[in-house]
Symmetry: C2
Subunit: 207 residues, 2 copies
Amino acid sequence: METKQSGPGQGGLIGRPRGFDADEALERAMLVFWEHGYEGASLARLTNAMGISTTSMYAAFGNKEALFRKALERYTEGPSAYLPRALEEPTALGVATAILAGTVRTTTRPAQPNGCLGVQSALTVSDAGKEVRDLLVAWRDNGYSLIRERFQRAVDDGDLPPETDPRLLARYLTALGYGIAVQAASGVGRDELQEMADAALRNWPLS
Amino acid sequence: METKQSGPGQGGLIGRPRGFDADEALERAMLVFWEHGYEGASLARLTNAMGISTTSMYAAFGNKEALFRKALERYTEGPSAYLPRALEEPTALGVATAILAGTVRTTTRPAQPNGCLGVQSALTVSDAGKEVRDLLVAWRDNGYSLIRERFQRAVDDGDLPPETDPRLLARYLTALGYGIAVQAASGVGRDELQEMADAALRNWPLS
DNA sequence: CGACTTCTGCGGCGATCGATACAGAAGTCG
DNA sequence: CGACTTCTGTATCGATCGCCGCAGAAGTCG
């Protein structure tokens, strides 16, 4: 579902045009969700960061949950875009190296919140947030599946030893990624995390 | 700071005695915080699970934040007690193995919430929760330091190669632990996580 | 211009948040 | 028993939560 009504470019050219840039506003909202989580980000804080009123937010995005879904899409295609790129590396080791390096960079970028939006936005929630928690569980599971399938292909291609279990290898890599994200959210520095990632991949492919 | 007033055993024997078991109530509160996080656990839900009124909770524990601090202490001495025990293993590999095994067991116990209270209770918070978030950052950092110091001792004792960096090794192990906790919170099963932990430690000590 | 459509700001909705005031119940003391 | 201390249930506080009704502003159409 796209942003409702006007928006630059496509249909709905009659009536008063929107007075703000919906993309820019969504970017700001994503950063707030990233820093404070889904339930920790209040409408007041979100709309203040977006520079619009709650009415305009509801007209453009629907409600808080819909806004979060759009913000997660934006995160997937922006800060988290290193994942699909990493999967195109020619070797499994190259894939793993690129994933961890991308995770370290994205979770410790100075101008952005620390950590990973997909991990820290809704690990625990009140009753009202269950759907968003499940959405993020599915988001993480999708990332895991992409990695597992890539490693399966590496086994099929002979890039990884035939006795390798792509499931376990993907679990291992995602665990390291989540661990990096949690440590980044806790203030651990980029260089230290990158050194750790390098050391972790010095033994490959585990067994 | 102990539980205020009565409590079975020590001072304050005059006046009406407390009508509930404070330890039992704290256990229930810990489980609610574990499942829903600090801000996701409302007073209504907490006191309902504890079987007492808000008035009794405030009289016994002070306020929500103080209740959480007590619950975290209880978590540290209960579900998380595998950590200090693991540090007493004779070899660094034994320590690492015990830590990961303890993490897997604690984060996937059927009768308890999935995941780790110390990781998922307050990764992101609203303004009101900053102190609790910082408390948990310090809690995790304390765990990391204990592991790092244990590995430093292993290097000093010749159990680990002299070129080993205890900092990186501790970062690696905590990252795996956090990664296991996040996956457990997402519903990944115990056996799969334990297999992954086993595979991760098949190469040791990394470099 | 006038008709029409859409967006925006103000104000407020009911619900829930964490936290308390108050009075009576339930005990231990002399 | 009566004086005293503490605990408990009810009822509610002000603040904030996500959300929306309404009227006017600001545009595009003919």
